[in-house]
């Protein structure tokens, strides 16, 4: 046991402050940047993982091909993780997302492959099939998610139980109405949502639309920076120094354009490119044909979802209320917030996001299978938690969850490149999850004084914290005992014996 001895601790603290002093200019620069240091730390960790795997894999990891695939594989989990952040922030959990995804994917497959073409007699490959399917799927997702949310919020059943039930029910329903069959194929436009190719059609934006998207996003970033500065100026609030503003803008735009550049560095597969050249009358140069793929549709969908959910979470009352409920449910209710409705809406949002992910996954597979989305709930929750969402409620960001999903997928993808078997992958990802959460909790305890009234709620949700505090208390007890201020067990027994001697005792 590491009982700290004062003589050891003192010089240690000294070096710490010296290091702190050395870092002081860097820290103050960081502060004037006003960026989320936690997010920055995660980006650093991600960079480390990427560079590490790149070295170990001999340069394969950071190839355009691998990064493009990585982005597509992360997308479906990342889409759901944005909603899971809001659920966990409001002190709930949704264990049913994987089963909901399977159920919704199955339903959407039935709509486009059976009901519209056969039962309604419209035939296959109708131009509106994909959008009707998608809209119905999202609506159904919101409905079943909202149903679970209703039971949680108005029925007062803990979300863990409700969604655990949901996990079984939705999965069971798939088998009920599909009888274990695989539904395929998907309609060809719908397939584009998965980022795959059908003939010469590719589920990606292509070169110039990708660049356009990148430039539009950069302009949006700059516009948001300027308008926020102007608003703060109007109230004469302090604003970031101009160099900091410029740096933040430049780095954000650099990341956006970098992503586009990587996506455009990934060429179409050779046979698709050849077919494309044939159709468009392009002569194939001797070195082979390089047609950029561009940003994949699943990634585009993820981007849109991220923007929408971030907007909901940070710029709308709904989001403010979700965080307030997570911070202090009683205070939220006393402030006149409709807590139940807000909770129900988070679950409805989660359901519709599960539907979007279901569309991406079925489109990518070009089929709906009965085990679609199995264990996805664990990946989604892990992504949110690695991304800094705290189970004690009130803390977590949407961009963090996206990063969390990318970190997890990077680990898996990197280990696949290194030919690590899948059980070992699970072990590594599991350990990373625990370490990430442990680290986040350490931050939590630093946050405020250990006022018992204020930390009581956190303890209830956080056995780890309780244990840590109890350990502190045990140490105090031990030192008191050593100094004879506190009766140790032997002393106590002596007291009891003395009492029995003096007064006689019925106890043996």
């Amino acid at each position: 046991m590491g009982v700290s001895v004062p003589t050891q601790a003192a010089p240690e603290r000294g070096t710490q402050t010296r290091i702190g002093a050395a870092f002081a200019p860097a820290m103050s620069a960081l502060r004037s940047l006003e960026v989320d240091t936690r997010l920055l730390g995660m980006l650093g960790a991600l960079l480390l993982i990427w560079v590490g795997f790149n070295i170990l894999s001999g340069g394969t990891f950071l190839s355009a091909r691998n990064l493009w695939n990585l982005s597509v594989q992360s997308a479906s989990i990342a889409i759901m993780a944005t909603g899971m952040v809001l659920i966990i922030v409001s002190r709930n959990i949704d264990l049913s997302v994987g089963s909901m995804l399977g159920f919704l994917g199955y339903t959407m497959a039935m709509i486009q492959a059976v009901w519209i073409p056969n039962d309604l007699g419209f035939g296959h490959e109708q131009p509106l099939t994909w959008i009707i399917t998608l809209v119905l799927g999202i609506a159904l997702g919101a409905l079943i998610g909202g149903l679970q949310g209703f039971v949680v919020a108005y029925g007062g059943v803990p979300s863990f139980i409700v969604t655990l039930g949901g996990l079984l029910v939705w999965r069971g329903l798939i088998f009920r109405y599909a009888q274990g069959q695989t539904i395929a194929p998907m309609e060809s436009t719908f397939q584009m949502l998965g980022g795959g190719t059908v003939g010469t059609r590719v589920g990606a934006l292509g070169e110039w639309p990708s660049w356009t998207l990148g430039i539009v996003l950069c302009l949006a970033i700059v516009y948001l920076q300027i308008s926020s500065r102007r608003r703060r100026r109007r109230y004469a609030f302090p604003v970031r120094p101009l160099w900091a503003e410029g740096l933040v803008g430049a780095v954000s735009c650099g990341i956006v354009l970098g992503v586009v550049w990587v996506a455009n560095s990934y060429p179409l597969p050779v046979n698709v490119a050849l077919q494309y050249a044939e159709e468009h009358g392009i002569t194939v140069p001797p070195g082979g044909l390089f047609i950029p793929t561009g940003v994949a549709f699943p990634v585009l969908i993820m981007l849109i979802v991220t923007l929408v959910v971030t907007f909901l979470a940070t710029r709308r009352r709904f989001g403010r209320y979700v965080y307030a409920i997570g911070g202090n449910p009683d205070a939220a209710a006393l402030a006149g917030i409709n807590v139940r409705r807000t909770i129900m809406l988070t679950f409805a949002l989660m359901g519709s996001l599960a539907a979007i992910s279901a569309a991406v996954q079925t489109a990518r597979l070009n089929a709906a299978v009965t085990n679609l989305g199995v264990q996805n709930e664990l990946d989604v929750i892990s992504a949110a938690v690695i991304g800094g969402t705290s189970f004690s409620g009130g803390i977590g960001t949407v961009p963090g969850a996206i990063l969390g999903a990318v970190v997890m997928q990077s680990l898996r993808s990197g280990m696949v490149l290194l030919l690590v078997d899948s059980p070992t992958q699970d072990i590594v990802v599991g350990l990373v999850l625990v370490v990430a959460v442990g680290h986040a909790d350490a931050d939590d305890t630093d946050a405020g004084p250990g006022d018992p009234a204020r930390t009581a709620g956190r303890d209830a949700q956080h056995p780890g914290l309780l244990w840590r505090r109890a350990r502190g208390r045990r140490r105090v007890d031990r030192s008191l005992r050593r100094r004879g201020r506190w009766p140790c067990r032997r002393q106590r027994r002596r007291q009891v014996d003395a009492h029995a001697d003096a007064f006689g005792s019925a106890t043996t």
């Binding site: 403010r320 307030a324 911070g327 006393l334 402030a335 946050a447």
Partner: protein
């Protein structure tokens, strides 16, 4: 108190404001009637910053999105009145001191032009300097014509700040008296023995000091 602030629906009886009977079903109703409450627990969302807490449930919006700058500006003004040293408008209130948290809770109550203010043990968690600050504030609000219910267990606070005193004993109202008509001993008698001043005997008072 909880009924008046809308946290709990009434079992019986009625509430009148300016002799008009009103119904209060939830906290929103109470706030619409100008009844603001400062809870003993402060009822703050610890993870949010001061402006978000002050405007919780009554956010200022510009074209349906939250106008954080406007809310921060208003919060700076109202908290500046209470505590000029308050600077941390961006930090989650979890990181603030007890007095600063109290300032946020009070700011929330007085910013919206309260007519009736319910203060549940407003100084219970504060040091002497901060307590004095709150006392000054209470007198100032009183002079502005705001009706204040002050819930307190500190007999000196009660005599310093109030006009009328009601004593509750085991959930029942013992009596309501004017401050100038009674002595501290009589009020203590009401508190400890649960008897209104008219029923207190010399013997009771002697026992109190016994």
């Amino acid at each position: 108190m909880r009924t008046l602030s809308g946290a709990r629906p009434p079992d019986s009886g009625q509430i009148a404001i300016n002799s008009q009977p009103v119904t209060i079903g939830n906290p929103r109703d109470a706030k619409a009637l100008g009844i603001e409450t400062i809870y003993q627990t402060l009822a703050l969302a610890d993870n949010l910053d001061a402006p978000a807490n002050v405007f919780l449930g009554r956010e200022v919006t510009a074209a349906t999105t939250l106008d954080d700058a406007a809310m921060e500006s208003a919060t700076r003004k109202v908290i500046g009145r209470l505590n000029p040293n308050f600077k941390n408008f961006k930090a989650p209130v979890l990181r603030l001191s007890g007095g600063q948290r109290q300032a946020v809770a009070i700011a929330r109550a007085i910013h919206f032009n309260a007519r009736v203010l319910i203060m549940d043990e407003p100084t219970a968690a504060l040091g002497p300097a901060e307590t004095a600050q709150v006392h000054t504030l209470i007198r100032q609000l009183k002079s502005e014509g705001i009706g204040i219910f002050l819930v307190s267990h500190d007999i000196h606070d009660v005599f310093d700040l109030s006009e009328r005193i009601s004593v509750m004993y085991h959930g029942k109202l013992v009596g309501t008296v004017n401050k100038n008509d009674v002595t501290t001993d009589e009020v203590l008698g009401m508190i400890i023995l649960g008897k209104p001043p008219t029923k207190l005997t010399q013997q009771d008072l002697a026992e109190l000091h016994g």
